[in-house]
Each structure stands twice: as structure tokens, then as C-alpha cells.
């Protein structure tokens, strides 16, 4: 193969003028991507482009060694059924309880919600209420520029595909971005729920923000171990 047109991945110019915490070195991190169904490869690529290692997880028992977990978009009905089937619920619950960050995008956000309108919750971890297909069928899917202060001043392109909408948040949940009347990006401690698809754009800021949380978790872990040793 000739080298003249080999694709090269360059950092997005948009990344250059955001806060320092989005530009950290993520090379020591391993991020799990729940690979049951949906946009798995895209999230894996984003993690790798941020400098981390991605682990596509399709079987139980592999989540112990990851520093964070991404639950990608896909068909929420299907993913919910499958995660039940393959015993992921407990593992994800434990991972979140340990303080490791979890990012749920689109269907992944539905999986994490404590209240899902019109159906039973799937892995109720986040104190949010979510409505599936809130914008209607596929022909209503859209992209739009969002203002997300934690990601910097540049607008962020939100790709909404048969997207859900967070209609209510409980105590301890921060709203990181909204669109119209609804919430499209929320954080509760180590958990992130995103209604759109950050993995379908070239903009890596949201993944960097998430990986920054994983790095923080790592540091706190190291420090608590140190203090244990000292005492």
C-alpha cells in the first residue's frame, strides 16, 4: 500500500482551545465498551483516538480490569434484553458502585435511568427520568449545535437518532446540557447519561471529559491505597 493517502488521525482543531482537563494523557487507561449490539466500533475508535485502550466486552467477567465503561447506542429494547440475558446487570452495578465512571449514550442512557417512561427500568442506577424516542420516528432524527459548558466554549454537534430525552432529574444530578425543554446530558457522580451520539462526530471532547473522570478515579484509588499503607 502506498503511503500518500493512508488515513492519518489528527487531533481535532476544536480540541485545542478547551480546558486543560480535556487534554490529559489517557494512555494508561483501559475503557470497556459494552459490545452487545450497536455503535461499538465507533466508541472503540474514539477511546483509541483519545490515547486510551478500548476493550470491547461481550461476555461477563471481563469488566473487573477496566477503568470505566461505555454503554453505546443501539436498540434499547434489544440491548436491555441481552444485558439481562448475559448477566451484565450485576457486573455493571458493581462497577458503578465501586466509583468507576460509566457513560451511557442514547440507548445506553436509557439502560441507566431509574425511571423509563412506559416500561420497566433496565439497570436503574441514575436518578433520572427518560422518555424513549422522544422526538418521534427516524424521519424526525436530527443534528444540532449544543452548548455544553463543561466541554468548553465551542458548540458541540449533537447527533440525535430516534433519541431519548431526559425529562426529569432527581437530587445529586447535574444538568450538563439541555435542548429545548429537555435535558440531553446529565451527570450523577461517576455516571453520565447522554441522549445523543458523541461517537458519530469527529469531536472527541465528550470522550475526553469521560476519560478525565476515569483518570480521577484511578488517582483517588492510588491515593487511598497509599494512605492505607501509611496507616
Amino acid at each position: 500500500m502506498t503511503t500518500d493517502d493512508t488515513p492519518k488521525i489528527r487531533p481535532n482543531s476544536k480540541d485545542l482551545n478547551v480546558e486543560g482537563n480535556l487534554q490529559q494523557d489517557f494512555s494508561g487507561l483501559t475503557i470497556g465498551v459494552l459490545a452487545l449490539q450497536g455503535a461499538v466500533a465507533e466508541h472503540v475508535q474514539c477511546v483509541e483516538r483519545c490515547g486510551g485502550r478500548a476493550l470491547a466486552v461481550r461476555r461477563g467477567g471481563l469488566l473487573a480490569d477496566v477503568d470505566g465503561l461505555i454503554i453505546p447506542g443501539g436498540e434499547s429494547t434489544t440491548i436491555g434484553r441481552l444485558s439481562n440475558l448475559f448477566g451484565f446487570r450485576e457486573e455493571i452495578r458493581e462497577l458503578a458502585a465501586a466509583g468507576k465512571p460509566v457513560l451511557g449514550t442514547c440507548a445506553g442512557a436509557i439502560l441507566l435511568a431509574r425511571t423509563v417512561q412506559g416500561q420497566d427500568p433496565i439497570i436503574p442506577l441514575m436518578n433520572i427520568t427518560i422518555v424513549r424516542n422522544a422526538f418521534g420516528r427516524q424521519r424526525e432524527s436530527f443534528e444540532t449545535d449544543l452548548t455544553i459548558p463543561v466541554l468548553g466554549m465551542e458548540p458541540y454537534c449533537g447527533v440525535f437518532i430516534r433519541a431519548p430525552l431526559i425529562t426529569g432529574v432527581g437530587e445529586g444530578v447535574d444538568v450538563l446540557a439541555s435542548f429545548g425543554e429537555g435535558i440531553v446530558f446529565a451527570r450523577e457522580k461517576n455516571l453520565l447519561a447522554v441522549a445523543f451520539h458523541p461517537e458519530l462526530t469527529e469531536d472527541l471532547r465528550l470522550h475526553r471529559y469521560f476519560m478525565g473522570m476515569a483518570l480521577e478515579y484511578r488517582k483517588s484509588k492510588v491515593e487511598s491505597q497509599k494512605s492505607k499503607v501509611e496507616s
Partner: protein
Amino acid sequence: MVDRGTFRVKKGMAEMQKGGVIMDVTNPEQARIAESAGAVAVMALERVPADIRAVGGVARMADPEMILSIMEAVTIPVMAKCRIGHFAEAQVLEALAVDYIDESEVLTPADEKYHINKHQFTVPFVCGARDLGEALRRIGEGAAMIRTKGEPGTGNVVEAVRHLRVVMEQIRAVLNAPAEELMTLSKQFGAPYELILEVRKLGRLPVVNFAAGGIATPADAALMMLLGADGVFVGSGIFKSADPLKRAKAIVEATLHYDNPEVVARVSRGLGEAMPGIDMAVLTDADRMQIRGV
């Protein structure tokens, strides 16, 4: 500003289906069975391909009444087929708000020369292809998803394998050729040059590619995934079999765990009769749906 129907949104919809199974259904009850089995979408049609073969005559877009009743029955996306080149049927399907339109050779073509200009629609399209050129021509016309054609309604996976093999082989040819040979490859394949460059840059088709046409067993589904498909369509294979729910679940699991033979073995046990199959040798050219609209 809100942009609907951008290519990213259309293509992204197909990305969300990856690793999944899309099942042909002909009524709300079958749609519910498909959904509970874990299908990522259903294809609403009047008859499954095996019955279209049996009945003969002209196969058209399904009755909107039936499509709407299926859309009401399930929360997963609903796809529907229009005839090749029949953009009025496609407009009807868009007006019904189906989630994806399949411009399909399973129905009798309405235009033997031209396909639909799919860029004009807000709803995304999936189209069939038997080789890289056909796939890239459809993408050039605006298709946001490709399915290798296979031979629908036969329960025989041989054509599905042939078409996916050809697509993969030709992608490898594009990746391995020196830059000066690409224009000639584009001419040979009958593919738009810009899209050949795109394939070379990405190392794969620019859109999601599912396998279709003859998949009848969990092992068939696993085979197509191992050959490089992003997911599978199962048409007649489920509701023409002895135990549709059990088979549908088994094919979903086999598609997910395609690289784990133990799972495929476990789910393949005791499924009952598969659909009756047809040997390709008995099909005349007139019986071959795959050669329509190329």
C-alpha cells in the same frame, strides 16, 4: 438550527443496528414475536419472499394499513419495502413515517433502468448489492445502508455467501492496489471513483452492510458475521420454520456471539424443522430476484 435527514443521521441510524438481526414480518403478532426475540428492527411486508416466490405475479409495496398496525405493535424501528425505482411508493412509505425504506429486488421492479434518487428523502434507504460496484452505485444514489442480496426466499445461504465474499474481495483489491490503479478498478467495478477513494480511506464500505437472502439457521447467521457482515436480515427463515420464536432468539444470540462456537452450538439445539430450502440449480434466471435492478 436543527438539521433533519442529514446523511450522518441516516447512516447513523444503521450504525445503531449493527450486530443485530432484522426480521421480516407480515402482521403485528409476528412483529411482537420478533421484538421479544431481540430483533433490532422488523421489515413489514405483505408476504415473506418464500411466499412471493410461491404466489408469483407482481409483488408491490405492502398495504399501508398493515404497515401502520405493525408500527403500532412494536417500539423497535419498522422498515418497509418499495419497488426498485418506484419513488411514489417510497414517498408513501415516508409519509407513513416508516423508519427505513428498502428499495428491494424482492418486489417486482417498477423501473428497469433507474433506481430512486434517495438523497431527496428524509427517511434513510437500504439497498441490495451483489458486488462492490453495485453497493457503491446505490450509496452514490443516497443509500445509507447496504445489504448483500443473496437469493431471497430460498433458505439457501450460498448466494448470500457469494455476494459477501465478492464485496470483501473487491474491498481488499481496492486497499491493496497502488493509487494509479484505482481509476481502472473504479471502471471495472462500475463504481463511482470518489467512493472507491472513500473505501480505501476507511478500509471498509462507507455504510453499514448487513447480509441477507437465504439465512435460515443460527450457524448461517454466524457464518455471515464471520465473513464480515455487520448484521443479518432474516426473511422467510424465521416464520417459515417450525418454531419461529425459538429460532428467532437463537439467530439473535448466534449473531451476537458469532465467534463463540459453543454459544452457536447451544442455541442451535432442538430448534425443530428449518424452512424448506431450494437448490440454486432449479432456479431459472426469471426466478432469481438478485439479478433485478443491478
